[in-house]
Symmetry: C2
Subunit: 198 residues, 2 copies
Amino acid sequence: MPRGQPASVPDDGLTTRARRNRPLVVVHTGTGKGKSTAAFGMALRAWNQGWPVGVFQFVKSAKWRVGEEHALRTLGASGEGGPVTWHKMGEGWSWIQRETGGHAEQAAEGWAQVARDLVAQTYRFYVLDEFTYPIKWGWVDVAEVISVLDARPGQQHVVITGRDAHPDLVAYADLVTDMTKVKHPMDQGQKGQKGVEW
Amino acid sequence: MPRGQPASVPDDGLTTRARRNRPLVVVHTGTGKGKSTAAFGMALRAWNQGWPVGVFQFVKSAKWRVGEEHALRTLGASGEGGPVTWHKMGEGWSWIQRETGGHAEQAAEGWAQVARDLVAQTYRFYVLDEFTYPIKWGWVDVAEVISVLDARPGQQHVVITGRDAHPDLVAYADLVTDMTKVKHPMDQGQKGQKGVEW
């Protein structure tokens, strides 16, 4: 997409530079493909800037995103861009080191760590993969999420992925894209395949 | 997204394995963000499978996608996954080594190379970034593109990105996602920023 000029200049008292560097909350939602994939694609740019990248996978299976995880970990260890830290709920969060409680409890634990990291400015780019679901299911309170995001210090960008993003989160976010399915091979009886789906 | 079961099993005479491994033509279109970003995210999975990845950037500026290019080149050189080859129209295609003709001629040259590589099975995963535009502008004939894609041998996946994908290409493709803009910071007067947009 072209790096165009903004359609209007807001009367918000910010300089162009301050406005340009405003940290973003980004939501990728919808029923189509590419929500998480695009978030990990964004992480490549953050890595290239030398920024610390933190990924939190709010999914049950530790087998998901193995390709992306291998790639981001390899980049993080390459010594060229920023460091990459990858946390998976599916195998018990790394800072807990064991399986505790059910999925609701694990998701709440994950969010609590994200909130701590935002306060500490541990990372500059966060991927909260599939985080719309714990919010949708009431395991994490959307008002608290917005409050913590809104109070985060510094220049921390946060990308949240998953279907059915909460309307309050959509209203709060700076950039929201809906990935809309036009056509999918599974409609024609094809299963997912390695190298494409994972 | 869940790796679900297909909604129906087609009467196409293929085994499940053959159907599963059918090479895909994927289109990311729409006015929202994430079209190219998700394509490069898919390239991470292809790299992880050890597949040769070929990127063809059908854009004018060689400065675009610098983060993704650095990341994919670093991965390709890591010795862990597949090799990555990155071709940019914006600085003259690498196999030509000089700026020739206008954009129309350069785009046609790029497509001719893609067609040769498909016949030769040079790569297993192709990103044809912003390739919808040369088709839209008539620089490359959509019927020829579909013919070449349809005749490609082996197991070569091709991802095409850009707005305004030609209806014939959408009809032909196996997987089509429309990235729909819900909300964008530039609507509120914010310009793009490093680490997020590039």
